[in-house]
Amino acid sequence: MATKKLAFIVRSLPYKTEASRLALTHAIASQTVEIYLNDGDLVEASVSYVGDGVLNCLKGQQGMKHYGITTIEGHAKNSLLLDMRVLICKEDLDKFGLTEDNILMDAEDIGGETKANVVSYGEIQKEMDAATHILVC
């Protein structure tokens, strides 16, 4: 019985490549990993947004309207709905002049109870220290 911790670190801008979208879909896949593992073994994923990556969290993305594709915001919401640990770097939000009002902080409208955490970079560093593996996207 063991739990392995994966820290996904999203540092890239959304949409130009699939990197940030795939980070989220892979992190979410940790929830169905038990079929491959022994009883009690777990893989636990968290997602941290740093640098340009915090722009993935902007509210009101309209990818479905314009391009017929799900938004990164939607994936981020799903990760909160599934009670994933989500960290957003405060220093980087500050740099871009963004506040909690501008970004996706919860998935309440779809029944999620977990909130995103705006934290100092030091907390994200701790998340990386504590992780078994770090996956930068």
Binding site: L13, Y15, L55, L58, G60, Q61, T71
Partner: protein
Amino acid sequence: MKLAVLMSDYRNGIDMIDRLSAESLGIILVGNGVYHAAVKEGGKTSSLLDKKANFYALTEDFETRGITAANLDSRVKAVNYGDVVDIIFNDYEKVVWI
């Protein structure tokens, strides 16, 4: 020459645009280039907007990224795909993608 630049990147390519000289220059922000129109870093707007040029940003692309027309810098005009076609054909002679 009259040159339209489709700027698709946020972190690279400004050096290329800085050097370009054209009697008439249009910069159309598309893809991740739209962040130049709306994002401030450390309180400052993108240095790209200081270039002497006409600025446009593609509505489909900034809205996809969670930016609204109200967020755009006053120097930047919101346009759609049809407008981009007209701008390229009517207002400029050449077009490049960066």
